[in-house]
Amino acid sequence: MTDASLPAAAPAPRRGIATDLAVGALLLALAIAAPFLIDSRYVLGQIVLALFWASVAAQWNLLFGYAGVFSLAQMAIFAVGGYATAMLAQYLELSIWAAIPLGALIAVVFSVIVGLACLRLQGVYVALLTLAIAQVLYLLIVTDTACFRMEGTSCRQFTGGATGFARFGDFGMRQLLRGDWMMGNYAIVLCGFVLTMVMSWVIIRSPMGLAFKALRDNPAYAVARGVNRFHTQLLVFALSAFFTGLTGGLYAAHFQAIGPGLFSLSQLLFVIAIAVVGGVGTFWGPVVGAIVLMLADEFMREAGEFRTLGLGLIIAAVTVLLPRGLVGKAADLFRRRP
């Protein structure tokens, strides 16, 4: 599909752009100030985690919320980005800085293959097939027992097997900043997050984004207007995968470890819950969702076994009472004003 075949973009509402810029500037200012106001590595670490999950949820939101593709392979793509980064750094001894973008490109290749396999289907069948592919990938990794090379007394499987990868390199902040290494890692992850969000915003506001939304809202009409459903949705798969894979690489480098646990259904559901709570199909939804769910999780830490129940109740309540999520509800309230 070429740009010529995409419908011309409607003039973006200036008020919307101004609001996005204002909100973005405010959040960015807060994010930049955070490490100077917070002296706890734990809190900073939690913000780093929130940035990771917000980024992954934002990319899933691009896929489902804007393009209407109900993919459940999001954590698999994230894991592929992380695994590719780790494997490139470990086996080819690439610098982590080179491995991360290459890992993101490998995530794109994986995602395009997934897209080619499932985008001829629609709706729930896409969800089922993407989930199945993610589970197959997980099983292929954990059941990889063939010895690829020996490391000391241990046998290393090519895919890392059930143990995954560790000690393949990091951002180098421990050597550079010593006790303040978390601030350095935070800055890098924040840059990655900002890049992801800016690119998502540009895509959503571009003619490409309009094509995504047209296919989501009225596929028959969009196709009649010349939008190629298969090509357009494959494109969104690839774009979303690049930034998801990039986030996966950053995750692997931050934690200096990556393992098959990332393929778990609970992790996938948490990412989806972030988008749902914040508002599917809204640009700031995943950010708000990540803040709300991470904060709620934090406040319920002392609740023991009720912690999971509490999170479940929040997600259920938002789904029932605010079907457009927190950001969607806020937008509705502003719109009602005379």
Binding site: Y42, G45, C155
Partner: protein
């Protein structure tokens, strides 16, 4: 309520060697009345490993109470803080540990096991200069420590790594043959792991060293996790019956089902299993079919006189269905640290590298006889030495225990290593 006097009296019966030593080190500070020492624990209190997480917490609670009754560490009582690691993994566990350090300023973190972390916990401990002792049972701990001993000086694995399950099992099988207790029909060994890290790492450890010990792997079949349909696997085994079937999948209900499905058409094969047979559900579901099953563990409360008081106190306090085999691990870990910290002159605090190094040196010097046996750290990897596979002296290594279900109505019996064994190996009923 525990008092110092009652504890000392009780511990004499229990054989808790550390109590008298700690009380001696505390000297005049008979009452633990100083500033509390925060002790951190990042445990899986929810999620799939919650049952074990609760036992790890129980073990720590018991140790804290006993240590405090003995005067704490140089007069300072211990205060336990637990962080939930839920589904575990590198992110959740490292963040839980960082929270313990930031929020409570814990100078020590005693964990049970957390899976899927790739030992990222060691970086948290190193970055904050705290002592970290865990029971992940991973050779990756040793490998990581070896890479940079100066950085990971405060990281200890309280039990031998899973690597020793491999040579341990193979050595035990050869001992049975050499002592004439068993004549195998062939030298074939079938390995049945399930799709999870613990199970596969152990199976690989056996597979990688089988040839060296004169064994041939006739089948390596990875099953789903969980799995209770063993028909296809049993059919493959029956096509070429091996002398030994080693099932490294660990869920007790699934392992019991294996035996139930194996029993109607048994083979002339020894059956070795991992972890699950130590839990009550294995016998409850498997019934008579489990009689003769062998299993082993590199860490667990010994069924000896020394540990008797611990076992009975544990069950009395936490219920008849509680598992002291799990709780004993963190119990010993905290006791060993408390003694080491007292010897070193105090626990220190996060970022107090000098004092943390003194405590670490003390941990390395101290040979501690706990309820799991001897804990002495191997300076090469800072994991507990494994007896008899790694070290031949029973007084210097944690015993790799082999147990067998010989009477379904009674507890399993320890059949190896020799110096700890309570009964000889019994030929399983399906083979006799």
């Amino acid at each position: 309520m525990l008092t110092r006097r009652s504890l000392l009296r009780g511990s004499a019966a229990a054989g808790a060697a550390g109590t008298a030593l700690l009380a001696g080190l505390n000297g005049a500070r008979a009452q633990a009345e100083g500033d509390p020492i925060p002790v951190g624990a990042a445990l899986p209190m929810s999620g799939i490993a919650a049952a074990d997480g609760i036992e790890f917490q129980n073990g720590l609670t018991m140790a804290v109470d006993e240590i405090n009754a003995a005067g704490g560490v140089l007069g300072r009582p211990l205060e336990l803080h637990v962080e939930d690691t839920a589904d575990m993994g590198a992110d959740l566990v490292s963040q839980a540990m960082q929270r313990l350090i930031d929020r409570y300023e814990a100078p020590v973190i005693i964990n049970g096991y957390n899976s899927g972390t790739n030992m990222v916990e060691m970086d948290v401990a190193a970055d904050n200069d705290v002592i970290f002792c865990h029971y992940n049972t991973m050779i990756s701990h040793n490998n990581k420590f070896k890479e940079d001993p100066e950085r990971y000086y405060g990281c200890f694995q309280g039990d031998p790594p899973e690597y020793y399950y491999g040579p341990g099992l193979l050595t035990y099988l050869n001992t049975l043959i050499e002592s004439g207790q068993w004549t195998p029909p062939n030298r074939k060994l079938a390995l049945i792991p399930s799709a999870n890290e613990y199970s596969i790492v152990i199976a690989n450890a056996v597979r990688d060293q089988a040839a060296e010990y004169g064994w041939e792997i006739s089948l390596y079949e990875t099953v789903q996790f969980p799995n209770n349909q063993w028909g296809p696997t049993l059919a493959k085994l029956r096509q070429d019956p091996p002398a030994v079937i080693a099932v490294t999948h660990f869920l007790p209900q699934d392992l019991a089902q294996f035996m139930v499905q194996f029993a109607p058409q048994p083979m002339n094969s020894l059956i070795y299993m991992q972890y699950g047979p130590s839990l009550p559900a294995f016998k409850e579901i498997g019934g008579d079919a489990v009689k003769g099953v062998l299993y082993s563990t590199v860490v667990g409360c010994l069924p000896d006189e020394f540990s008797e008081a611990f076992r009975s106190s544990y069950r009395e306090r936490f219920g008849e269905n509680s598992s002291y085999l799990t709780g004993s691990q963190t119990y010993d870990g905290l006791w060993k640290w408390a003694l080491a910290a007292a010897i070193a002159g105090g626990p220190g605090a996060p970022f107090d590298r000098e004092q943390a190094m003194k405590v670490a040196a003390s941990m390395n010097r101290l040979i501690y006889r706990g309820v799991n046996g001897i804990c002495r750290f191997d300076p090469e990897g800072q994991s507990a030495f494994c007896y008899p596979t790694q070290i031949a002296d029973a007084s210097l290594g944690m015993p790799h225990q082999f147990l067998q279900h010989q009477d379904v109505a009674a507890d399993p019996v320890m059949v190896a290593p020799g110096s700890y064994a309570k009964a000889p190996f019994m030929m399983p009923p399906w083979m006799s």
